[in-house]
């Protein structure tokens, strides 16, 4: 299976060593962005070059890999990365969250709780949470070093002043281990609570920006908020039309040009599991009337 022209998992051993060192440092300082010498990968920036490099460096022959894109196992990006590692590393792949040891993800954290021993690898486009507030990279690094995070609240303040509530719905800033403020990549804020005290190791790779950061298992991750405007997870307008789940993250799918739509679980593995277990939703159930 292993293509003879590739080293195991595509990257050469020296590169993997370098990335592993960066990962170790990132784990030692939770939430801190460690610079690393990001390589060119056979895919464009924005398709997960950072995540792929992290996965390539931690993958062993016994690992079982799952790749998701927006929660789904069967989108182009997820399929090609899965095939990429099946070809270059010959590892087993799966779509089951339970069976996987390494899960590479774009945007979502699986609904099924992660367990100790699993590694969740995030693809990160913009690792710097302060980027759009303070454009100078030298300045943001200094702010991280001195833990000057007042500016992060300025963003939340602006949200409330403009919309009446904290309208940031993804890439919602978190404070890791009561020290570093971190951008959890563009995961919906719905998933933020899953990062807190998680049993699995969470690694973040940003290929274009050349940064790696991490949340070690069982680390506190707190979403920033105000006393009088606390962090809230949003609730959807309807249960999943396929499996009837009411507590999962849903995608809204437009089904015709007359305004019909359905809500389905974004995590395909979770949804299929529930359907197999006999749960059913109904397209007629959606949406809840009068939901704000």
């Amino acid at each position: 299976m292993n293509a003879p022209t590739y080293n195991f998992a595509y990257l050469d051993e020296q590169t993997k060593r370098m990335i592993r060192r960066a990962i170790l440092k990132a784990i030692a300082i939770p939430g801190y962005q460690v610079p690393f010498a990001s390589r060119e990968m056979p895919m464009p920036y924005g398709w997960g070059t950072g995540g792929v490099q992290v996965t390539a460096s931690i993958l062993g022959p016994d690992d079982v890999l799952k790749v998701i894109d927006q929660g789904s196992d069967d989108t182009t990006n997820a399929i090609s990365i899965r095939k990429f590692f099946a070809k270059t590393a010959g590892v087993a792949t799966t779509t089951s969250t339970e069976a996987a040891t390494v899960i590479q993800t774009r945007h979502r954290i699986p609904e099924a709780p992660l367990r100790a021993g699993q590694v969740l690898v995030y693809q990160v486009p913009i690792p710097e949470p302060l980027r759009f507030l303070e454009p100078r990279e030298t300045e943001t690094r200094r702010m991280h070093a001195l833990a000057e995070y007042g500016l992060m609240h300025v963003k939340l303040y602006e949200d409330i002043a403009r919309f009446g509530h904290i309208a940031t719905a993804y890439a919602y800033p978190v404070k890791v281990n009561a020290r570093y403020v971190m951008d959890p990549s563009p995961t919906p804020k719905f998933d933020n609570p899953k990062m807190d005290n998680c049993a699995a190791l969470q690694l973040f790779g940003a290929g274009r920006e050349k940064r790696i950061y991490a949340i070690p298992p069982y680390t506190s991750v707190v979403s920033l908020d105000f006393e009088d405007h606390p962090f809230t997870r949003y609730k959807f307008d309807a249960p999943c039309a396929l499996c009837g789940a009411e507590d999962s993250y849903l995608d809204e799918i437009v089904t015709d040009d007359k305004g019909s739509r359905m809500f389905v679980c974004s995590d395909t593995d979770f949804c299929e599991g529930r359907q197999a277990a006999g749960h059913h939703g109904s397209t007629n159930a959606a949406p809840y009337k009068g939901a704000a």
């Binding site: 507030l133 007042g150 500016l151 303040y157 105000f226």
Partner: protein
């Protein structure tokens, strides 16, 4: 003018033999003075006389080539600014000090609403209640005579005079003891200048602020300051009470400066 108040017998800021040179070019040489609490000092002089360099050294943004600046912290201890860690220096800068730039775009976040601009310093020192931050911000906007209706507008939609007043509110919200001002009225038209000066004078009096104002406009010095330092070619050539220096200048250069004002 307000008399110096309690604990005012000890200087707040002490400059001792300050000098700055860029290679062979000397920007400032041998400048020493003390600033007392609630005292307003104006530094006047023509362009290139070293006023702004001096202000940057005093506010610890620029390391002096020689000499030192000491500041009396809130605990009453006089400390050398060069000996402070970066974290302490930055903390001082956003709590106990204010810095009003000539160009408000440098001192404000132009894309962020006025309320957040004023509230930023509060959030930086750990305020975590939206309602209280907003309330404090609106009361400060009121004090600097900005319409409360405009609290959610970004300063880039403000006029020059409003921007400058917003910048002042942003600096004063943490109740600093010392404010640095670099040509605070530069680039504003005369009537707006007058209104701004009036506002600054009353705020400085009310809050008992000490201030160092750099200006080339002697009218600003006359209206705001208790004491004046005249600079020329990097040196302080004359210093004294404002009315004394401006009404009875001793140095030929100061005489020239005073006589250059057009009679109204």
């Amino acid at each position: 003018m307000a008399a110096p108040q309690n604990g005012a017998d000890q200087p707040l800021l002490v400059a001792d033999g300050l000098a700055k040179s860029y290679g062979r070019l000397v920007a400032c040489r041998d400048i020493s003075f003390s600033l007392y609490p609630s005292e307003v000092l104006a530094i006047v002089g023509e362009s290139g006389s070293g006023k702004s360099t001096l202000l940057q050294m005093l506010s610890a943004q620029l390391a002096p080539t020689g000499g030192r600046v000491s500041y009396r912290m809130r605990d009453g201890v006089l400390r050398d600014l060069a000996g402070l860690g970066e974290a302490e220096r930055r903390f001082l800068f956003r709590t106990d000090w204010g810095y009003v730039h000539q160009d408000p775009a440098l001192g404000l976040r132009m894309a962020v609403s006025a309320g957040a601009n004023v509230g930023e310093r509060l959030m930086a020192v750990g305020w975590n209640n939206y309602g209280r931050i907003r309330q404090t911000a609106s009361s400060w906007l009121e004090r600097v005579e900005i319409d409360i209706e405009r609290i959610d507008d970004a300063p880039r939609t403000y006029s020059g005079g409003m921007r400058q007043r917003l910048q002042i509110a942003r600096n004063l919200v943490t109740e600093p003891r010392l404010v640095f001002m670099d040509e605070p009225t530069g680039g504003l038209d005369v009537s707006v200048q007058a209104r701004l000066l009036d506002l600054m004078r009353s705020l400085v009096n009310e809050l008992g602020l000490a201030a160092i104002v750099v200006t080339h406009d002697l009218a600003v010095a006359r209206l705001l300051s208790h004491r004046v330092m005249v600079m020329k070619q990097g040196r302080v050539i004359e210093t004294g009470l404002t009315d004394q220096v401006l009404d009875d200048p001793r140095e030929p250069y100061t005489q020239l400066l005073v006589s250059s004002i057009l009679p109204p």
